[in-house]
């Protein structure tokens, strides 16, 4: 294993390096996945482009209707950001569930997407929050819906010349979100099932909802059948058995006769109710204020 190590000083330098060397290069952000892969000699890339110092991609900003979250924000940055906690609770909760304190200090949001793991904690949260992804290349910046970038196990639909620079998360005051995951232990657990959920409220009723599932199949996805069931209902207990059954059926269909299917189609009920309890807790907290 031998490679050259490039440290671009700006996004434009990074994308011009990618334009030139992209087919032969890997991007290094936090390194928590990549360094292990390098050690295992899984890459034949000749060039490593270290973007970890590009602080212009490590900001969290609020516009009128969105949060703009830099792709180099670490999970520790995200779970401690008051903007994220307030307007994108699901992402704060997912970030707090990543790895360990060490991993959260180092791992980045952009890296979590780029690494392409079906169990990436941030993805169902971002997907439920309907995030758009800012992607830069030598030709400029494009904004893409997160779903469109998920390729499959270990890859995305980005070209080798593109760089994830930010995530745009739309918010409005009537929307609440939450995340929950099932792992084999609390710390350092790879998610077996993860759920991101949002509801938009009006007059005590749910007017829109999203639900994304992670680690069930090769990539995270939205479950429209359940999303439709949420609309027009009150966020009360009575709603819940229906949602659990619908999700369980969805998991059964997705996993077919895979070995994990009998376990996951039961377990998903517990995971989604944990997410729901968090969401409702966030809602009542807000009502008191």
């Amino acid at each position: 294993m031998s490679f050259s190590y490039q440290v671009p000083a700006s996004i434009s330098e990074a994308v011009s390096l990618l334009g030139e060397l992209g087919n032969d290069a890997k991007l290094l952000a936090g390194g928590t996945d990549l360094v292990i892969q390098l050690q295992a000699d899984k890459y034949n890339s000749n060039v490593l482009i270290d973007i970890s110092r590009l602080d212009e991609m490590r900001k969290i900003e609020r516009t009128n209707d969105s949060l703009i979250v830099g792709s180099l924000c670490t999970f520790d940055d995200l779970c401690k950001s008051s903007l994220i906690v307030k307007y994108a609770a699901a992402l704060a909760q997912a970030s707090a569930a990543v790895g360990s304190p060490q991993i959260r200090n180092q791992g980045t949001l952009g890296g979590n997407l780029a690494n392409g793991s079906p169990a990436a904690d941030s993805i169902p949260a971002l997907m439920a929050l309907e995030a758009q992804v800012g992607v830069a290349s030598a030709h400029g910046v494009r904004e893409v819906k997160l779903e469109k970038l998920l390729g499959g196990v270990g890859f995305t639909n980005l070209t080798p010349h593109e760089l994830i620079t930010y995530f745009r998360i739309p918010f409005d005051q009537s929307k609440y979100s939450a995340f929950a995951k099932l792992g084999r232990r609390n710390a350092l657990a790879i998610a077996r099932i993860s759920v991101g959920i949002t509801v938009a409220m009006s007059g005590g009723e749910i007017v829109a909802g999203t639900l994304a599932l992670g680690a069930v199949g090769p990539k995270a996805y939205r479950v429209e059948a359940v999303e439709k069931m949420l609309v027009g209902r009150r966020p009360a207990r009575e709603l819940w058995p229906d949602i659990e059954e619908a999700l369980s059926a969805q998991v059964a269909e997705k996993l077919g006769d895979r070995a994990s299917a009998p376990y996951k189609r039961q377990a998903v009920k517990g995971v989604v109710s944990a997410a729901w309890e968090r969401l409702v807790a966030g809602m009542s907290l807000n009502m008191e204020v």
């Binding site: 031998s2 490679f3 050259s4 190590y5 928590t32 360990s100 060490q102």
Partner: protein, 157 residues
């Protein structure tokens, strides 16, 4: 293709040439001779290679050395000052928080990183702070007690 690396480790400046494939862990142990930092799993699961990098606890097995260029690093060797063990080290000894000792450098630095950002953590916060560090002698209770005793001593002062 060796590259220049500048590091400040435990207050001392180093300038060396390294292979870009080297991890921070390798440079600390092999190039600088600081073997207090241990390698356990080599994939970020066990935490025994933990060091404090620019104020943040990280697994040095998951950081390429060149990523730490111009960084300020604290390893277990830098905890003692003027020949006197750090209060956490003293507490680990007093509480019997060391058995085989392999996890101890990482545990000490995880506890140090916690106390640097939170001067009076609760037991739950202590548990969370060492949740990325595995002790296979299962001396967690003693480790938590050691950290608590430092917190209490600080509160008394």
């Amino acid at each position: 293709m060796a590259a220049n690396l500048n590091l400040k480790v435990n207050g001392q400046e180093y300038q060396i040439k390294v292979d870009p494939a080297k991890r921070l862990l390798d440079v600390l142990r092999e190039d600088l001779g600081l073997t207090g930092t241990k390698e356990g799993c080599g994939e970020g699961e066990c935490g025994t290679c933990s060091v404090i990098l620019n104020g943040k606890l990280v697994n040095s097995c998951l950081v390429l050395a060149l990523q730490a260029d111009k960084a300020d690093i604290l390893t277990v060797e830098g905890l003692a000052e003027n020949g006197k063990l750090h209060p956490l080290q003293q507490a680990f000894m007093k509480e019997g928080a060391v058995q085989c000792g392999y996890c101890t450098p990482g545990m000490l630095l995880a506890a140090k990183a916690l106390l640097d950002s939170n001067s009076s953590p609760t037991k739950e916060e202590i548990k969370l702070a060492i949740s990325g560090n595995i002790c296979r002698c299962t001396g967690y209770d003693q480790i938590i007690r050691a950290v608590e005793s430092v917190v209490k001593a600080r509160e008394r002062n």
